[in-house]
Subunit: 456 residues, 2 copies
Amino acid sequence: MKHKLFVAASLFFGMSLAAQNADEQFIRKIADEVLINSQAYDNLRTLTKTIGARLAGSPQMYKAEDWGYRLLEKSGSDKVLKQRVMVPHWVRGGKDEATAILIGNKKKALQVIALGNSIGTGSKLLTAPVVLINNFDELEEKKDQLRGKIVFYNYQFNSRFIRTFEAYGDAAKYRSQGPSRAAKYGAIGVVVRSMSHSVDNVPHTGGTRYDSMYAKIPAVAVGLRDADWLAAELEKKAPVKISMKTNGHFLPDAEGNNIIGELKGTEFPDQYITIGGHLDSWDNCEGAHDDGAGITQTIEVLRTLKALGYQPRHTIRFVLFANEENGVRGGDKYAELAKARNEKHILAIESDAGGFTPRAFSINSNDAVFEKVKSWLPLIGPYGCNELVRGGGGTDIAPLKEQLGTPLCGFLPDSQRYFDIHHASTDTFESVNKRELELGAVNMAALVYLVDKYGL
Amino acid sequence: MKHKLFVAASLFFGMSLAAQNADEQFIRKIADEVLINSQAYDNLRTLTKTIGARLAGSPQMYKAEDWGYRLLEKSGSDKVLKQRVMVPHWVRGGKDEATAILIGNKKKALQVIALGNSIGTGSKLLTAPVVLINNFDELEEKKDQLRGKIVFYNYQFNSRFIRTFEAYGDAAKYRSQGPSRAAKYGAIGVVVRSMSHSVDNVPHTGGTRYDSMYAKIPAVAVGLRDADWLAAELEKKAPVKISMKTNGHFLPDAEGNNIIGELKGTEFPDQYITIGGHLDSWDNCEGAHDDGAGITQTIEVLRTLKALGYQPRHTIRFVLFANEENGVRGGDKYAELAKARNEKHILAIESDAGGFTPRAFSINSNDAVFEKVKSWLPLIGPYGCNELVRGGGGTDIAPLKEQLGTPLCGFLPDSQRYFDIHHASTDTFESVNKRELELGAVNMAALVYLVDKYGL
């Protein structure tokens, strides 16, 4: 059946059997090169263990930029570019974040972490009674009870979704919009259930966005076991107060850079294929899956194509984007410059969904591009990505679509484990599997090769 | 495209659109029941943490049988059966296994573990010069140099295979046949490179099979980093001796049991669908993936079908097989009794490839059965298994095919992480992801439902 599909697709798109055979062989060479000689895992170890957390504006951001620049040079770029971009510089402001629960005279410490971009409580504790809010509908129902209170959003990460990014899409608004929507009704602080279905109690950060119409109030995420406990106490109508202390604040914008390796096209040097991930991570973790994986896979694709002596027809850009986590300034700058230079971009691919075993690509394009990429699945599928779905490509490349109409492609590894560790201290090097990381690079390289060879 | 395939398949097999719709809805119910109410993960915790390692004949084997019996009752079996079977009773014989390397006057301890079923060195150390053997061809070339020596098989687990079970199939003969093939030429001991591509140094055991033509000699597996180190020393022509001590021996066969839950068929009570895994594990690990996952998924399928009030047309047997690891006596007994009773078995399904994210089923059957199962992929694929391949079903159900010609089906989760932990102390509860385990049960339950509804 696989073979039949293959023949059908090839007849449709006019690939000869000889061409298919050559493609099969070249992709097998890509896989061998990666699975035998890959440097992705060792590079990831350096990025996560030597440099570590690297939020925009932090000293580690600069170290990561230098590391990426040198590695793109060493991995065979014809040239390496820097695109300067001003990035936000939020700092957690100390490790003494704390939230304590008071029930009568009893006191219990909760495992919390301040939300990214959130404001601190100042030097003193913020203490207030807590209101349990299970969803935004309930917020509206209880809007008259929120003044002077701390809102606890206990919205459940919905385990019924098979693709866990859908559960995240469903829940993340409580983190991004929750604080301002509570402040609108006079709340003075927010505790939000972590966007996760993990079995542990580790809290997950992530960016919040204050609506300038309302007061900025402190906000923390709480671990899942503590969230369950707190909800149970509140459902018992226990009189619960929370005391919280956070220290977050913004410093002046900092000067960051997109770091870009380039392989010059032999036939269409002015037509670009972009492949990338983001170099920054949240400050509370090693950012191994998010997005050290995407960064090291991107560099591995470059290393592999060079190691095989591949000379691309189009110019391929290997982009380590600045500042995805709390600003997307890197992605915006990349698209802005591409537009200003009137560049033609035929496809942009991002890996920012973890370093897990490959399963699919998502495509945001017209039908013709979708069907053409789909016709290549019989070639790529044996290495993991045997499915093509419609969907966004990635946060960093989205501005290319907005600015230039570029088709986007997202690399989609298996999503079951991702939200166990996303934006949490558990996103460590040890949570990445060497072969899974490498197979991601194989699938990405295969797609880049086919796009470059056949166009879109 | 998915929808088109779906319609095409349904027309071919005569399923009405209404039937497809009902099937989609029922499988969605299965998924909801498992993802919201699953007990598989908690059951796995009990099996691995409370009972632990459970090799055939061990006290833990009996505890696991009792646990399984009670759980099959509690999960809704119409009745629970025991099939008595005599099982081999190999014991490691002490935790003081050791292998030291001597180079000149230097001494280094290697991380080793005796192979299952292997003979011990007796109370004294076995010390001899070492010969590096990279493969069986080299063994034949060097056959005159092996008398009185210890053979070190350093055959590499081939990372070029995308499906890692192929690498295992390629390498495992050095563990199963290596000792006797070395003994044939007078070797007195064997050290074998672990069948793994893990990044750690943990040794992996597994069964060896002595050929009764030759002397039984002690044999250990060595961790990968130590294997690399040892090979490098030997390639430098360093004069290397190994001293090893192991204590393995067989006790008299023990009385074990297959533990079987049954749901009686309403229309065809004398036609059976078997689903199962194996209850035993190697003695050096919790056996969480191998095969606690298969056991708890099998029981979860039962619990789920009962929770949904499903009344099967055929009799479904949920089988916890005894003694897969070093004897397959449980699987043999099950097929022997089925044959003696002239039972009709329409399909046997096994989960014994780990508790990782679902990807495929393998089928060992004629073309008609294969194509019929394939026609159901559009219904099951959204939950993970979107591929059907030809291949064996599982060690425990293989005798059913041999004895009765029963079509076999193997549940194939993603294989990239499996040989990191297979037969090693790292096969722990913590290495299993809750959702991945549960999704396996969803896919297995969906297949059981479709086989029961439509037959094969």
